[in-house]
Structures are given as C-alpha cells and as structure tokens.
C-alpha cells in the first residue's frame, strides 16, 4: 500500500468511526423518551 492508500484509508476509517461514535453518544445521552401523548 502506498502513502496515498494509507491517507485515504485512515481518513475514511476515522470519518466513519468518528461520526458513528458521535451519533450514538449523542443519541444515548439525549433526554429519556417520555410516555405517549396524543398527536
């Protein structure tokens, strides 16, 4: 693998892992869902 390959792979993996971790962290630390109310 050449330098370009390392760069693209590292950045791509960092992006996908980073966004997934950010998204799930935000989701799981959001205020709890309340019980149903009507529309």
């Amino acid at each position: 693998m050449n330098t370009g390959g390392w760069i693209f792979m590292t950045i791509s993996l960092a992006l996908v892992w980073g966004t997934a971790i950010w998204a799930y962290t935000r989701l799981l630390t959001a205020p709890r869902e309340t019980s149903d109310d009507s529309e």
């Binding site: 390959g5 996908v16 997934a20 998204a23 869902e33």
Partner: protein, 515 residues
C-alpha cells in the same frame, strides 16, 4: 384505516431497523468492487460527495415527509407522497415506493437463501474444496451453480428449501409487527453482525503473507489494491455515476422503506439525529468492514486474478479463501455467510413491511390478510426468479429496472416533492420538531437546489450509459420479466385508486390541504 396503531418501542430501535434495512449484501460485496474499479481510495471523493449532497439530504427529506404523512394516517408511499406532493400525481407516483420493495424482495430472498444455505454448509462441514487453487476455483464455481440453481433453469435444487425457510422467517417477523418483530430482531441482529464482522476482519488482517512463494500477496498489498488512489478515474463521469449508484443502493434511499418506517414516529420523536445515525451505521459497516475484508482476503490468497466483484467475489472466491485458512476456515466461513444472512434478512423484512402496510391501508384489510396477499404475490414473483435462475437472467432484469432505475426515479420524485411542492421551509420545520441535532441550514439549500440537479444529472447519465445498451441486448426472459413488472405496476395503481376512494370517504387529508 385498519388495525391497531403500530409504533416503535424505542428511539434506538427505529434506528437499528433503518440501519438493518440499509446494511446488506451491498456493503460487503458491492462496495469493495466498485471502489477498486473506480479509483480506489480516490473513489471516496465522489462517494462522500454523493453522501453529503444526495443521500443524506434525500434521506432526511424522506424521514420528514414520512412522519408528516404518518400523522395524517398514512404509512405507505402513495399516501405519504400524496400528502407531501399535494395531490393525485405524486400519490400515483408514490406507487414506486411500493413497487421497489415489492419487486426487489422477490429476488432478494433468493439471494438470502443462498447465504443461509452456505452458512448451513459451513456449519455442517459441507463445503470442501480439494486440489490446487485452480481446481478449487473451478470446484467453487460448480458448487455455487449447483447450490444456487444458477447453472440451469428450474426450481429443483436444495436452495429452494432454504428459500422456503427464509420466506417463512420473513413473514413471521413482519407479522409480529414493528416492536415485537422487526425492532426486536434488529436489536439482536445488528450487534451480532458487528461481532461477526469483527471476527472475520481480525482473521483477515492477521493473515500476513500466507504463501512464501508469493510474498507480494500480503495483507498490506491487499488493502492497497482497494485503497491506493487512482486520481485519473475522477475525470470519468462513470466514476461519479458509480459512486452515486453505490450510495443509493447502500443507504436504501429512494427505496420506500424509510417512508414507511419513519411514518410510525410521533411528532415529538427525533428524526434528524435518527436519520444521521442510521446512515452513519451503514457507512461504518460499508467502509469500516466491507472496505477492509472482502478484497483483502481474496488478494492475499489468490492475488489480482482472484479479485472479482459482487456474487462472484462473495460466493465463489471467498470459499476458496476460507479453504486456505485450515481448520479455522470452516468457522470463519460460517461467520461470514451467517453475517451475510443477517444483513440480508434485516433488509428483506424492511421491504416486506411497507408493502404490507400499503395493502392494509389502501384496502382496509387486517394485518394477517395483508401479509397473506403480499406473500402470494411476492411468492409468485420469487418463483419466477428461481425458475429462470440460469445466469440469473430474471434476477438481473428486476435488479436493473426496479432495483436501480426506479430507485433513481423515486428519489427524484421525493426530492422535488420535498423541495418544491411541500416546501423546504415546511420540511425544515418538520425536521426541527423533536430534533436531537440541528441540521445545518445549508442542507436545505442542497435539498432544494443541489440534490435535484445532481440527481437529474445522475439519471441522465444512467440512461445514456447503462439504459440504452441494456435495451438493445434484452433476452426473452428479461422482456417477460419487464412485462411482469408492468403487471405489478397495474395492480398497485388499481389498489391506489381503491385506497383513494376509501381515504376520501374516511375524511383523511390525502392531498395535504390541512396544516
């Protein structure tokens, strides 16, 4: 409207269900081949552009229109797009959102049966390839043809039995409803897929250089085969078309699934972060696993000549790869094919559900009757695919016309509905409602101006590059398949007409006239 109210159990549940719909065979088999063929690492540039300027905005638009339509009592494409598009034209164009999951399901369950068959064979020690690598490659191809029935037409093959099992599983899961069926299953399946993918990934990345006689066939070079950039490909329109196609195919955008799944959410439920998280989950599987496993494993043992794409890579090349792994190969093979099976079934149940919901709400029938009706129609279609299995002619025809062309069409309809008829301001307000993340405002500019243009360019490019050659080379079976698709469209249009009358009689706001 019929039946008891369906709803999701938890916030994470709907995300895992949408992610399950998106994560499928394409993440592991299609993405690596597309990336390697269209510039390697450089493919990530058009890929991320398509993600940011097409898939994410259109995905968010789907979530918003779906929740809005769901609040008015609609849970299928015709109803929801009739509301968002304010009238009959978009209501009937919404037929695409039922046609696509319905027809794709017909051939997808067949492929799902292959995955289960292979997983079973590995579990029971049934896949044994002997001799030199060349002989093993030939044997693997023979096994594939025999196991899947693609070596000849007709249904008398063992995979037909697995098809029955798979269809029954799909029906049971969808019949059990959103909370008790789809959500519960995805809450098990997605983490299981992550674990199985990690196991296979670790085995692949620790392969080193298994054959001292071919030292260039090693893990780093395998990774390099996919990731080394070839910037010259970026000047080719086909590369940008391939990236857009891959993103659509991968994220289930323009599929009719999100339109249904998100319609069961309440006004106070978040859709902004949910849509983003589902997409992020899909990308994790696609780039984080698909981008590292498949081609690397094939390269390490078979070199450049062993690299294929799609079904060939997944079902013919990889069994040869697993054979080189010794005793562990059987278990890695099982992990791989069971992973593919879980990826496939979480996608197929997401296709069955919107079709069932459509028949329920258009005809006013019970969940059980709707599932029975859908199962019969899809069963007949699937039977057609299995019968004309030689070289997958019927499957390819359905995949091209409905699984690719119609998806681009539906996405175009959706983005125009959202940006130009319902309106970006109304859409933005809907997305902000209950939002756990603030969508940057420039995305609404993208939804209104950039996405439609990008999509039209992709559609025109697709017609010019892929469609015209296809029309010139259609075999009789493919033509008959197209006719069958036409018959399904006619059926769905008729059901929409029946539904329209019922919805008006029930006083529903089917044209979106009320706020």
């Amino acid at each position: 409207m019929s039946g008891k109210k369906m709803e999701w159990g938890t916030r994470v549940g709907v995300i895992l269900a949408v992610a399950g719909s998106a994560v499928g065979l394409g993440n592991f088999l299609r993405f690596p081949g597309q990336a390697a063929a269209h510039g390697g690492g450089a493919f990530m540039i058009p890929y991320i552009c398509a993600l940011v300027f097409l898939a994410l905005p259109i995905g968010w638009a789907e979530w918003a229109m779906a929740r809005h339509g769901g609040a008015k009592g609609f849970h299928s494409g015709p109803g929801i797009l009739g509301v968002a598009g304010r009238g009959r034209l978009t209501r009937y164009l919404g037929v695409l959102a039922v046609l696509i999951p319905m027809v794709v399901y017909m051939y997808y369950v067949y492929i799902e049966a292959w995955c289960l068959r292979y997983a079973w064979e590995y579990l029971t020690g049934g896949v044994q390839l002997n001799g030199t690598i060349t002989e093993q490659v030939a044997e693997s191809a023979r096994f594939f043809g025999e196991a899947t029935g693609t070596d000849k037409d007709g249904v008398l093959n063992m995979s037909a039995l697995f098809w029955l099992v798979v269809v029954a599983l799909n029906i049971v899961l969808v019949y059990r409803g959103l909370k008790g069926g789809i959500e519960k299953f995805c809450q098990f399946a997605l983490p299981a897929m992550a674990i199985l993918a990690t196991i296979v990934l670790i085995r692949v990345l620790t392969l080193g250089t298994p054959d001292p006689a071919n030292p260039e066939q090693n893990v780093l070079n395998g990774l390099g085969y996919l990731w080394n950039p070839d910037f010259s490909k970026l000047t080719s329109f086909e590369t940008w078309l391939a990236a857009a196609g891959q993103i659509f195919f991968s994220l289930s955008v323009g599929f009719g699934v999100i339109l249904n799944y998100a319609s069961y959410l309440k006004r106070k439920d978040d859709i902004a972060l949910s849509g983003f998280t589902a997409s992020a989950t899909n990308e994790l599987f696609e780039v984080g696993f698909g981008g590292l496993i498949t081609i690397t494993a094939a390269f390490v043992f078979l070199g450049v000549s062993g690299i294929g794409a799609g079904f060939g890579l997944g079902f013919q090349t990889l069994p040869v790869v697993f054979e080189q792994m010794g005793i562990a190969g059987r278990w890695i093979g099982f992990a791989w094919f069971f992973l593919l099976f879980l990826a496939a079934i979480t996608s197929s149940i997401s296709m069955l559900q919107p079709v069932k919901a459509f028949f329920e709400e258009a005809l006013g029938i019970s969940s059980g009757k709707a599932i029975a009706l859908v199962s019969i129609i899809c069963g007949l279609g699937s039977f057609w695919v299995i019968w004309f299995s030689k070289n997958m002619v019927a499957l390819d025809a359905m995949d091209f016309w409905v699984g690719t062309f119609c998806i681009f069409l539906l996405a175009t309809v959706q983005v125009i509905c959202f940006g130009w008829i319902w309106g970006v301001d109304r859409g933005a307000a809907e997305l902000d409602q209950g939002a756990l993340m603030k969508i940057p405002r420039f995305f609404f500019f993208i939804m209104k101006y950039v996405a439609p243009v990008y999509l039209l360019v992709v559609l025109i490019g697709f017609i010019a590059i892929d469609l015209r050659p296809k029309l010139g080379t259609m075999q009789p079976v493919a033509l008959w398949t197209l006719l069958i698709i036409g018959a399904v469209v006619a059926l769905l249009v008729t059901v929409v007409a029946i539904g329209e009358r019922r919805w008006r009689a029930a006083g529903l706001d089917l044209d979106g006239k009320q706020p």
